[in-house]
Amino acid sequence: MIEFRHVSKQYGRSSAALADINLTIDKGELVYLSGPSGAGKSTLLKMIAVMERPTSGTVSVNGQDVGRLNASGLPYLRRNLGLILQPQCLLNDRSVLANVMLPLLVVGTGKADAEKRARAALDKVGLLDKAASDPMALSGGEQQRVAIARAIVNRPQIILADEPTANLDRASARKVMDALKAFHGVGVTCIIATHDESILASAPRVVYLERGRLAEGPVQDSLQGAA
């Protein structure tokens, strides 16, 4: 379970990126974050991964206040997260397969086992035939799917995706979303930030953000998630 309690985030003297957010996301839930650019969707996702820390309030993941995690505890939290960020941060000096193997090697998985699991993850997103390719040689949609394969290869409990369908054509966007929904189908908690109205139309739960606050939106249930 992920909980935000009176969470605010302020960068310097500018207006708050997030203001008094109260939100609960249950284990295995599929939640979409929506709202205009600059509303605070990415900041909210980054707080779960402790890439940002709240100015006030608490963010807890499985009962642990992650805002108070020290540097030595942080890696162990992130090993349970699958991050799909904008940009995808694929490493161009190695193959697609090597990129997907990276999260496994980081945690000490053997090379042979890591390769096997990375190939399986690429197969799940339909890119096994691109395993030896250079990431730069792939289309935007394919790169996004490589990022998804890399995010799920470690079998995370939570997937955090920031605009995973941005700049993709409809067909590529559908493939990306199908891949993410498939992981939600096996019990993985998925939190997806998106602008895409066509995706939001069929969403089971949407949290709408505006100017850093939970707000009434065209499709939203922030009250359902708020404390």
Binding site: A49, M51, A71, S72, P75, Y76, L77, R78, R79, L81, L83, L85, C89, L91, D93, L102, P103, L105, V106, V107, G108, G110, R150, N154
Partner: protein, 308 residues
């Protein structure tokens, strides 16, 4: 344990991969560090070669006892037993040789080639004397005993002058000490240079691998996982530079030895400079790798902390 070893294997492979990716830049860095290391290594090689020679010279000091010209031969020869007793009482051991003035003169003629000049003097200007060759003098306190012994010999009746030939050995030892200190200072200074060069090399590497570091952190890499390849890179750079510096010194010894051989031949010596022995070579390589590791450690702690 297996995971730990695997992580180290990965880090080492990562370091090699990075070095092989930019061989030109790596080679230049090795050359720069090797130049800085070559000077202290050459100094150490020189000292290691001179040390046994100086030690050999220091172990057998001689004391020459010159009698007064008017001391009768019988009185002089009677002193031998007294000298032996003094040597024994002082805790020293040695060989005493009486040199009659006639024999001393013939030695002087033979060794110096001043036959005509000495003959022109008319009479023998040399006194009777003793040469005492001491053995087992190794330490500074032994050397002090020799001086005290010389003072006792000087007080014997009929003795005009006592000369200890260890004075120049002491000077050589003092010179060696100064050289050793100078080498230490030079090594420390150039060690700082090596650390600084490797510090900067690793800094640039951290900058070029910034994306990889951030992605690794994103997926739960510990600081140790991220730091290790840089440590290995620093140590490898130091090790390669150390090997290059030792190789350069060994090669430089060949032409130097030709010149030394000509010079040593004048003194009927076979002295030649030899490269450092295996233990010293291993120690120097370990020191080089250690300096590389230190540079990497300082750089990584400073620059990766900023990226965190």
């Amino acid at each position: 344990m297996i995971v730990w070893l695997r992580q180290h294997g990965l880090a080492l492979a990562g370091a090699f991969r990075h070095l092989l990716r930019s061989p030109g830049s790596f080679s230049l860095n090795v050359i720069v560090v090797a130049i800085a290391l070559a000077l202290p290594f050459a100094g150490l090689t020189l000292l290691e070669n001179v040390r046994p020679v100086s030690e050999q010279l220091a172990v057998e000091p001689e004391i020459s006892v010159f009698m007064a010209m008017d001391t009768p031969r019988e009185r002089t020869t009677a002193l031998a037993e007294q000298i032996r007793r003094i040597v024994q009482d002082s805790g020293n051991a040695g060989k005493l040789e009486f040199i009659p003035r006639e024999h001393a003169l013939s030695l002087l003629k033979n060794k110096t080639g001043l036959d005509d000049a000495i003959t022109a003097l008319g009479e023998n200007p040399l006194p009777d004397g003793y040469v005492l060759k001491l053995s087992g003098v190794r330490t500074a306190s032994d050397a002090a005993k020799v001086e005290s012994l010389a003072a006792q010999l000087k007080s014997l009746p009929g003795v005009e002058y006592v000369q200890i030939d260890s004075a120049w050995v002491k000077r050589l030892a003092a010179l060696m000490h100064v050289l050793r200190l100078a080498l230490l200072f030079l090594a420390a200074t150039l060690g700082v240079v090596v650390v600084a060069v490797i510090f900067n090399t690793i800094r640039l590497q951290v900058m070029t691998q910034r994306d990889e570091i951030e992605v690794c952190r994103m997926f739960g890499a510990t600081d140790s996982y991220i730091y290790r390849p840089f440590y290995y890179t620093g140590a490898l750079l130091g090790l390669c530079a150390g090997a290059a510096a030792l190789g350069a010194v060994a090669i430089a010894l060949h032409p130097l030895n030709d010149a030394i051989a000509d010079f040593a031949r004048l003194y009927a010596s076979e002295f030649r400079l030899a490269p450092l022995g295996l233990p010293a070579t291993v120690a120097m390589l370990a020191t080089s790798a250690g300096l590389g590791l230190m540079g990497a450690l300082l750089s990584v702690r400073r620059h990766l902390a900023r990226l965190a």
